[in-house]
Symmetry: C2
Subunit: 493 residues, 2 copies
């Protein structure tokens, strides 16, 4: 191996190992840490991040990157990801990184109060500062990468797809929504009302069921834990995955479907190529790719008729009571109910993309400067009404609902819908490649699907960007028609 490249591999492995420590400490902060540990934890995470940044931007790295040569797909991709990571890190002056971290943290704190009061004016000056620094960041990253400023931000979350590629996909979806949403609503209104599950759902029984179902989906608990946190997430490292959920005795769907969602993320991390562990090319391909894996498990597989026919009896056995609401058809009516709500995280899979399309357009306008922060509430409410025909009654249910922008995350939102669409596209390809996939789901067997994902997505690591990964796995780049077909089949047939 070229000695410069060998040195780089050792250095990036060390940086990744620091990242693993950060991941574990982050999990602990959300799932375990007593409140009094917060200040020290902040210091620990900042110190590790600082060390990793120093190791990535040390002068030797530029020298080794100049001298490094590779041969072979994986090593070529790995070196190119090293170059990209280094270029992004050195593009940003430390003063800008620190100013952003401070501004994001300050804005995020003020936002919590502003959201509770539905008072946009309270957070406006803080958000203005966040946006100002994000514009600066975008410009610096754009100059270093040759991408547009917004694409340069988006690349930080998902490599290998541009706003110019996303825009026509979203436009096509808007047209679909205008036509299909009223039909779905009309059909839903005509059908029987969903019967609520009786409850209560003892937490111990939910926990056992969630664990069993995630195990059934392929999560190996000798390399994983399931715990509780206010906001569910998948953290940890590929050999030590930590998923969390939040239980309520009054309701079972949130924890159950949430755990299946996080299991999709977990299976991706577990399935990353071991031979490239701790190398850039061994990481997951990005946030949209990650979301495609949680959604293919949760939305495509687990909320589908086949799996619900397996799940109904499981739920009945776990919680007892009247069996009628546990009928698969009723579970479908409960868990695939469509409505024009204001809150993204509560949205069904048909209207969810509208929430994302709105944010995608607004954040591009904020970063380009076409939209001033002061104009955001108006633009939000107008855009929302245009997409879904209803107007948010206040900013808490409008532009204040999400943490992302108030914490400096611009370019992230498209990942949700790119992931949902990719999940449908991958599911179609998996069905074509794996005979009996739905029959297996009806028996609660996820492994035929997961096996295909291991080979075609998980095992690819970061070798391919988003569009290339889809081409590799499905023979085509992102094509919203698979998602629309899925929705028509599920909601209109």
């Amino acid at each position: 191996m070229n000695p410069a490249y060998a040195r780089l591999k050792a250095r990036f492995a060390r940086i990744a190992t620091l990242g693993e420590a950060q991941a574990m400490l982050g999990w602990d902060a959300s799932a375990m840490m007593p409140p009094g540990g917060g200040a020290a934890r902040g210091e620990q995470l900042a110190t590790l991040a600082g060390l990793a940044h120093e190791m990535l931007t040390a002068p030797e790295v530029a020298a080794d990157l100049a001298d490094a040569t590779t041969s072979g797909d994986w090593d070529d991709a790995n070196l190119s990801l090293m170059r990209r990571g280094h270029a992004r890190a050195v593009a940003l002056p430390t003063s800008l990184v620190e100013a952003s971290a401070r501004a994001n943290s300050a804005c995020e704190k003020v936002w919590r109060g502003a959201k509770a009061q539905s008072d946009f004016s309270a957070v406006r000056p803080w958000l203005e500062e966040v946006v100002r620094l994000q514009r600066e960041t975008a410009a610096a990253l754009a100059a270093a990468s040759g991408l547009s400023p917004y694409d340069a931000l988006m690349e930080g979350y998902q490599r290998g797809v541009t706003a110019a590629e996303v825009e026509p996909v979203f436009t096509a979806y808007e047209a679909f929504l205008r036509e299909a949403l009223p039909q779905v609503e009309e059909r839903q209104a005509r059908g029987p009302a969903a019967m609520p599950l009786p409850g209560p759902f003892p937490v111990a029984a939910q926990r056992a069921l969630c664990r069993r179902l995630s195990e059934g989906a392929g999560l190996d608990y000798s390399h994983a834990r399931l715990d509780e946190s206010l906001h569910p997430f998948c953290g940890g490292t590929p050999t030590d995955i930590r998923i969390t959920t939040f239980y309520s005795e009054a309701e079972v769907a949130k924890a159950l479907l949430g755990v299946l969602h996080e299991t999709g993320h977990a299976l991706y991390e577990r399935g990353l190529p071991e031979a490239w562990a701790r190398q850039p090319v061994g990481e997951a391909a990005g946030m949209a790719a990650h979301e495609s894996q949680s959604l293919i498990v949760e939305m495509q597989a687990c909320r589908g008729d086949a799996f619900l026919s397996f799940l109904g009896p499981q739920l009945l056995a776990a919680f007892g009571g009247d069996p009628a609401p546990y009928a698969p058809a009723n579970l479908g009516r409960l868990w695939r109910h469509v409505s024009r709500g204001f809150i993204r995280v509560d949205a069904d899979e048909i209207t969810y993309p509208a929430h994302i399309i709105l944010r995608f357009r607004l954040e591009q306008a904020l970063i380009s400067g076409q939209l001033a922060v002061a104009e955001l509430p108006g633009a939000w409410n107008e855009g929302f009404a245009r997409l879904l025909g209803v107007r948010p009654p206040d900013d808490a249910r409008g532009c204040l609902q999400d943490i992302h922008w108030h914490d400096g995350a611009f370019g992230y939102f498209p990942s949700y819908t790119l992931g949902a669409m990719a999940a449908a596209q991958l599911m179609k390809a998996a069905r074509a490649a794996v005979p009996g996939l739905d029959a297996a789901l009806a028996r609660g067997e996820m492994l035929p699907l997961v096996g295909w994902l291991r080979a075609n997505v998980h095992g690819q690591g970061s070798r391919l960007g988003f569009q290339d990964l889809l081409r590799h796995a499905t023979g085509k780049s992102l094509d919203p028609s698979d998602f629309m077909t899925h929705l028509r089949q599920r909601y209109l047939q």
Copy 2:
């Protein structure tokens, strides 16, 4: 502030912050981690240790230490501890540190099997290598510190006390033991037999009781957690303490007294001087000092008559059944039973020091070369018989019982008994200074004791070495007579 000293403070704070990350990851490995995470965790901990070592031994440190000046007790002590830490770190060549780590880890693995088979010959060559490298380490540390080789190893666990100071203390205890142990046994044989507690003890009830009692002892759970691990310990950081225990439905004493023991350690960490957090002088004073704090809570306070009179009714309320065994006098008979056992960790407080005295003498002989590893089993059994009058029937109950030497820890053992003796000495001083201390314990109130410890021990950080800390808190250096008086009062009056 002198700029060199200011730079050193910043550097040592960063090193300490890495140490905090290691502490949390270490706790997680014992209390939370799925088995499959072990390999990655080893890498994470090694990487953090390597970075901390690099930061401590960087050339700038020597330059800054040469230029640094301080004024004031605390800063003087802090700088001197920086010098000591740096001198110890640079004294050891990396090759020796790595060879030791490898030899310790290999020996420790073989030892597990050898202990299970009671086969010393299986581990002998591995232990010989460990001892050889420990001799080298001791010589290097001695050359850098001016201490004797064994004292230089002991300093790594407890600063401010030498083998020459320990030896007469242990000799005095041997004489006490020869006289007092038969008397105690005779008195115990004459008295009523202890009634066992009925049980079973549901784990949930044990957990709740352990938490309540540790809270009552002053542990603030907004800065702490209580979890479970195979080997109980106190880990974490001063603002985020993690104590663990191990529950068995068949028995309550181990978990309960174990949690109170760890609570003593936890209160020490919590009570360290906040103004010196992340500086060497802000750390605990050493392992003997730490053990004095766990034992003053567990042995001096909680196993004493006053606290048992509070604890009995608590246990009865928690577990119910026949009240007779919960009578304080019976708890005393159960939990202060004296016997000449072979296993250190099961020993009572009278015979425990004999286990330590044996190890203290043998490890000095191993390090000096007077004793060959091959001669260890014989020397152990002979020494044990001389001290306690009984001969271990096999090496599993002899020189194979402890992990310490097989993991490269030489110079650690004295800390246990120095801690037990210091606990008695501190308790006597606390009783003299705090009126009503025992009356408070009889009401389950530990705070009068803990308040005195905060002021006189915890809040002192590492400003003073072991002997100076005792002088500061009790007016005299280590004096075994307070411990012997305590034992006479508890077991012979």
